[in-house]
Amino acid sequence: MKLFRFRGGVHPAEQKTTRQLPIRPLPLPTRLYLPLQMHIGAPAVPVVGVGDQVLKGQLLARAPSAVSAPVHASTSGVIEAIDEFTAPHPSGLPVRTIVLRSDGEDRWSESVVPIDPFRLSPTEIAQRVGEAGIVGMGGAAFPAAVKLQLGDRNRIHTLIINGGECEPYLTCDDRLMQERPEAVIDGVRLMLRALQCQRALIAVEANKPEAQQALRRACKELSEVQVIEVPSRYPMGSEKQMIQTVTGLEVPAGKLAAEIGVMVHNVATSYAVYQALRHGRPLISRIVTVSGGALREPTNLEVPLGTLVEELIKHCGGFKETPARQLLGGPMMGTALPHQQVPIVKGSNGVLALSAAETGLAPHAQPCIRCGRCAQACPIGLLPMELASRARHGKLDAALDLGLLDCIGCGSCSYTCPAAIPLTQYFNFAKGELARQREEQQKGERTRALAQARQLRLEREAEAKRLAAAKRKAEREAKKRAEAAAQQEKV
């Protein structure tokens, strides 16, 4: 099959030391911390109270709107608290979190499993995926059902299953494809059905030959599913670059991939779809790569959602040396953790403890010499050094004009910058600043509208008062006149 090349990109050292290590289950921790927002969209709304006894897989919080995802119990136990708890987010701010104390029995709740999910209608499949709380598991955590429902409005000609896993260190998708290829393929077929699409391409980077082989074996009977090898280059696993590589199409700026008939789902999402539809199991666990040079025993673990990072690190023998950075996710786009008391959520694909040598981070930025390495590395075709200098001087309009909102935040520019300029953070800052400005502008407009409404109301009230007074006066006068007339008559 003919592949296309995306521009730019980088080749960070792969460091995939755990790719031959089988997935092991993590022993059940005593407490699980389930944030009500593990996804993009509105936070889930708790349907249980403190002290409630819950079973594994039971609904704990429902999705209040279409773009949201419910939260289920990762094990059986008691709801100990619903409180603010550190979120897996760069800010380290707290979010509302359900704290579940395990009773150690790990008892499943009853669930209805369809005899043959392929007899469900596309809408029903999407609905079940939504009810199972499945979100994009490659890191973005966008509710999967919302995407699957797009098949109604757009004719999807190609479903791309993203097995790129281009981030260094991470091997959780690799292991999943190697160990459970049948389940992945089954999930792919179910998604095809939900989208009413005829073709699925599973794109796997060239550095995962075993995974490719396993998948090929599992789908050799199927004409609609095809495994393709894509070059190992960061950011291959980014949706836009993956679409470009596989189809040669580019998602138009500001549009969704579905509008050009393509949809991308992660392999782990596909596995979750399989679990939900074949076994009635909501998304309550995921595979996490625990790795990094500062860690004693890197491995792949199957972890109940809500487990603290601390437990994973403890299970992997703790640290060999003090890590320079502890991350949730990969080194290119992951989130730096303020401490280890942060839970694993639906989008967490890795826990990394990087040594200082691995990060190679410089303490200070040097001046930009315009060497152009960032522009060469940018997979979008932006000029990061120009963008960053605009962002730095607060020239947001100029930054917008240079394509600030086209930036996918992949970090390739910062990675290559010899002057160690935090380009990506400048873009994050500028994007945030832009959002803030828009909010304030909206607020200003709202305020003006409200003030005008009040002015109108006051005028209306004054007018009403005036009319009422006039009416009363007229009535009084009429009465007076009537009395006067009566008097006259009497006389």
Partner: protein, 179 residues
């Protein structure tokens, strides 16, 4: 010689044209004041010290007020005004004063409707003898209600930053010290 005469004539003609134009196309009221006025919140809250937004707009255009004069408008308004008036203004130095909201202590509220009448954006709901409430998405944080409350049950507070409001800070530009 001819050149000098030509230049003199040219200068004279242009001067005349400008003079005529200035008389003929004279603008009576300053349209800029109206444009600036349209940018202001229009709540006439008086926090700036001027008598209402239109007055403030006039002062601004005359250059008697700085573009960052309006507390409820904040940084965004200052930037917009600076652009409209063509003033050089560095908003990055402006303390991004956290937007405040009014809160009613329900234990103290007597339902006097004074704040309700005062609020320039009708953000306070309630009826006589009933406890009032502030609708935060309409509150501009002008603080007028606090001044009129007879029981001091109103207070301004800074809402907590949640994940939705959090923004990446600007990278620290640490000047590398001679190392």
């Amino acid at each position: 010689m001819i050149a000098i005469v030509m230049l003199a004539l040219l200068g004279f003609a242009l001067g005349l044209a400008l003079g005529v134009a200035s008389k003929r196309f004279k603008v009576e009221s300053d349209p800029l004041v109206e444009e600036v006025s349209a940018l202001l919140p229009g709540t006439n809250c008086g926090q700036c010290g001027f008598a209402g937004c239109p007055t403030a707009a006039e002062k601004l255009v005359k250059g008697e007020a700085s573009v960052d004069f309006c507390p409820p408008g904040g940084k965004a308004l200052a930037e917009a005004l600076a652009e409209k008036l063509g003033v050089d203004f560095d908003a990055s130095g402006m303390a991004d004063g956290p937007p405040k909201l009014a809160r009613i202590n329900e234990a103290l509220c007597i339902g006097c409707v004074k704040c309700f009448r005062e609020c320039p954006t009708d953000a306070i709901v309630g009826a006589p003898k009933q406890i009032h409430a502030v609708m935060w998405n309409a509150c501009t944080g002008c603080g007028k209600c606090v001044d009129v409350c007879p029981t001091m049950c109103l207070e301004m507070f800074v809402p907590e930053t949640g994940l939705a409001q959090w923004r990446w800070p600007k990278p620290v530009e640490s000047v590398a010290k001679a190392a």
